[in-house]
């Protein structure tokens, strides 16, 4: 087994979060090594729906999401490629007066908190924005957001990270991780890596890595389900959801329609596998057809899913370990972490390089899940 020269930072996980943090840490002057058990962008970051969405986020996530949105608009300057980013509105339609009331309350709450990117529109404006929307939709909440190409984006961040000096090793699952003589030692089947600091960006496997260094986080592996149709004539230029029913709907530039939105298949992270459950998707298909009558003629081409880690409060775990000053986490993005990638990477690099906690990520430390010690052993077995 070979032992590699020590680096300043070892990143575990080659998803968007690992690659972005590695890139910014290298730019901040750290020597960075990234280990990925499969290949870069193999999991959630490469297969997600590509929604770059601020709309309807938990208030705690909004400052981080705003910061990321500013980076998405400059993504070509940051990475040298456009990552397929297209600014388009994200829309949550109201199907009833009750829905409208829910959306109005949301806007009021956002304004009170000082955020102005979400805006209520009426029936006429909705119709102008989405001529194909069903007649019963009476308004919507809108935010000027967008979407991007997830696989391409994650690969671009990896390429930039390499160019900035990050050594990325694929096919290297970290089997053991421990702190010894002031250094973190990570062992894969083939080699040992050491570093002064370690960052856990292991996505759905993040709970497992955290548990290895004594941090307990309740993390559930989930598999969001996606459908894609055959090409259709262009009819929708926004990413569309509804106020009350799970749906995420968009038409891609090539005419195919990608439909997802909260329905889950089975996730089996130990075997890298997800199982598609069409029972769950029947409801999604109904919703899609009700919101866009034109979908009655759509043909489903393919389905897919990916493995993501979800926390009990649906917010990510970002920040320092509860047990080690030199260990950090950024995982458990609970099915909406793609948009947060660029800013989370930049702010994690800042935290790791300077030791100062940026306010945008402060709400997400894992101590919020503090659980009594007797429950802890139990929990570790589960993860």
């Amino acid at each position: 087994m070979t032992t590699n020269p020590a680096s300043d930072l070892l990143v575990i996980g080659g998803g968007l979060h690992g690659c972005a943090a590695a890139l910014f840490a290298a730019k901040a002057g750290l020597r960075v090594t990234l280990l990925e058990k499969d290949s870069v962008a193999r999991h959630a970051s490469g297969v997600n729906a590509g929604g770059v969405r601020r709309l309807w986020r938990d208030l705690a996530e909004v400052p981080l999401s705003e910061r990321s949105m500013r980076m998405w608009h400059r993504i070509s300057d940051i990475t040298g490629e456009d990552c397929g980013f297209q600014p388009v509105p994200q829309v949550k339609v109201a199907e009833s007066e009750a829905d409208m009331a829910v959306l109005a309350a949301r806007v009021a709450r956002m304004h009170a908190a000082g955020f102005s990117h979400e805006r209520l529109i009426d029936r006429a404006e909705l119709r102008a924005l989405l001529p194909a929307v069903a007649a019963h939709c009476i308004g919507a909440l809108v935010s000027e957001d967008g979407f991007a190409q997830p696989f391409q984006t994650t690969r671009v961040f990896a390429r930039q990270a390499r160019a900035a000096g990050v050594r990325i090793h694929e096919g290297q699952p970290v089997r053991r991780l421990r702190h010894e003589a002031g250094l973190w030692r990570a062992e894969t089947d083939e080699a040992t890596w050491t570093a002064g600091r370690v960052l856990n960006c292991a996505g759905a496997w993040g709970g497992e890595i955290a548990a290895r260094i004594g941090d307990d986080v309740p993390l559930e592996p989930v598999a969001p389900l996606m459908l894609v149709t055959q090409r259709m004539r262009p009819f929708c230029t926004a990413v569309v959801g509804t106020a009350q029913r799970p749906l995420s709907f968009k038409q891609m530039p090539n005419g195919t329609v990608v439909i997802g939105g909260g329905r889950l298949g089975r996730a089996d992270p130990a075997r890298n596998r997800t199982d598609i459950n069409f029972r769950e998707m029947t409801q999604t298909a109904r919703t899609a057809r009700e919101i866009f009558p034109i979908m009655a003629g759509a043909v489903i081409q393919r389905s897919w899913s990916g493995i993501e880690g979800r926390t009990p409060d649906r917010l990510p775990v970002i920040g320092r370990s509860a047990r080690h000053d030199t260990a950090f986490h950024a995982f458990g993005f609970s099915t909406h972490g793609f948009q947060l990638g660029p800013a989370t990477g930049a702010l994690m690099a800042e935290l790791i390089a300077t030791g100062r906690m940026p306010p945008e990520i402060a709400p997400f430390t894992l101590t919020r899940f503090a659980i009594p010690d007797e429950a802890r052993t139990q929990n570790r077995r589960v993860s």
Binding site: S39, G46, L227, T229, D275, A285, I300, Q301, R302
Partner: protein
């Protein structure tokens, strides 16, 4: 519908024989196939073809009629016109979602026999996407189901099916324009060393020799060792050009049938994540199965060409074997017939090494030039796939993410093996290590409205 002991997908010789054997042994069996009538590819429409067409198609086609009759007389339920679009593993069995008359249903079974047969190996040559260019298999389907005969086609490639179709066209009084055979002369010598073993399957050889004699008598020109093949034309096919034994040829034609063998249809076994291995001689992936056809997924059996190309006679033997084995495992009496079926299968396979060596797939189509289209759905060329593979796409699934190959309506059926081959070539790894596309449901495109109306739990 009540839970079945066995569901079979595919009504070709393997599926029909499995159904007959399993019902004889007392199992409750349902067989699903998207075609309206039993027969599969080889015996397509055998129950309906008029006597004249049967004679035309030869005695092997008639053998299918007997099997189809036995299947029709069996207790098996035949869900004709049922397209299976998803299969899930459930508690000690399988749940199949299928589409029938515009509605989707679920059927559950303890065991599953996948008898989905073979697909023609796509033959990516320059110009193969032009209108007028089709496959030999497609020409034959037209003849079997509609009695339509191709106009003067040039048959390009190699393999028994190529010769068979040519002979059938001759018999129908419409001989093909020419046969442009891609077999390198060296293959004849190489195949010779398998001849002694092949002689045990003498029937196949005499049949092959008979076909050739027929073609010669009819004066069908056969160009041997064809290379640098190009399908020329602007709007549609105008000519086939190639070199044969040092000489350049150009045959004007509006119709060409390409064929260089068939390969196992992996869609279902990949969907179910059965283990597969690369068969170096068949140059294709085959599911790993035990000597009864059971795959790495317990209870899931593969019979017929889907388990490796062996032809119709073996398919019927393997189907019967599998049907009996499923019954035995379900607690029915062990059948003494099983070992004799295994022996018969071994005998019937004797000719394979000879055929596989002689009719190895075309070298030109296995290593297509950079400007040849590989993925017809998304219009991706061999050059683009090579470039993606070099730019750090370690496997077919990354190529798919980069270039969308395999995401279109054919779901990878057409480009899959070619993408594996190109990635293997670019990375220096074997096709087996390179792997294949992950196959995701639906196996066939599914109308969204049908999914919206699907109520699997009310069945």
């Amino acid at each position: 519908m009540t839970r079945q002991d066995l569901c079979i997908v595919g009504a070709g010789p393997a599926g029909m024989a499995a159904a007959v054997a399993a019902t004889e042994a007392g199992l409750r069996v349902t067989l699903l196939d998207e075609a309206p009538r039993p027969g599969g590819q080889i015996y397509r429409d055998v129950t309906r073809a008029p006597a004249a067409r049967q004679t035309l198609l030869g005695p092997d086609y008639q053998a299918g009629a007997d099997l189809a009759r036995a299947f029709g007389a069996s207790e098996a339920v035949h869900l004709a016109g049922a397209t299976v679009w998803h299969i899930e593993e459930i508690e000690a069995g399988f749940a199949l979602s299928y589409s029938h008359d515009g509605r989707s249903h679920v059927i559950e079974a303890d065991a599953l026999v996948v008898a989905t047969g073979a697909l023609e190996r796509p033959m990516p040559l320059p110009g193969w996407t032009l209108p007028g260019v089709t496959t030999t298999g497609a020409l034959q389907i037209l003849m079997k189901s509609a009695g339509v005969l191709a106009e003067d086609p040039v048959l390009v490639g190699c393999g028994p099916l190529q010769l068979l179709l040519a002979a059938q066209l001759v018999a129908a009084g419409r001989p093909p324009r020419a046969i442009v055979e891609t077999v390198p002369m060296a293959n004849y010598a190489r195949a010779m060393k398998h001849l002694p073993r092949a002689l045990r399957g003498l029937g196949y050889l005499t049949k092959g020799a008979g076909l050739l004699a027929k073609l010669r008598r009819a004066g069908v020109p056969i160009y041997r060792d064809a290379r640098d093949i190009e399908l020329e034309g602007r709007e549609r096919l105008e000519a086939v050009s190639f070199t044969s034994r040092g000489k350049t040829h150009r045959i004007e034609t509006a119709s060409a049938g390409l064929h260089h063998g068939v390969v196992p249809n992996q869609q279902v076994t990949r969907l179910m994540r059965c283990a597969h291995r690369w068969d170096g001689r068949q140059k294709a992936f085959v599911p790993v199965c035990d000597s009864y056809g059971e795959s790495s997924v317990p209870g899931l059996y593969v019979a017929g060409d889907g388990a490796g190309i062996r032809g119709a006679r073996s398919a019927a033997l393997a189907g019967r074997l599998t049907g009996l084995r499923v019954a035995e495992k379900a607690g029915r009496r062990a059948s003494p017939e099983i070992t004799s079926l295994q022996r018969a299968l071994a005998r019937d396979a004797a000719v394979r090494p000879f055929l596989e060596t002689l009719y190895a797939p075309s070298a030109q189509a296995l290593a297509p030039s950079d400007d040849t289209t590989i993925c017809r759905c998304e219009e991706v060329t061999a050059g683009q796939i090579r470039a993606a593979a070099r730019a750090n796409a370690p496997g077919p699934n990354q190529v798919k993410s980069f270039l969308r190959t395999g995401m279109g309506p054919c779901q990878g059926r057409v480009c899959g093996l070619a993408v594996t081959g190109l990635v293997a070539e670019s990375s220096g790894r074997s096709p087996g290590d390179t792997g294949y596309f992950r196959i995701r449901p639906p196996l066939k495109p599914l109308p969204l409205s049908e999914l919206a109306a699907f109520t699997p739990d009310d069945e």
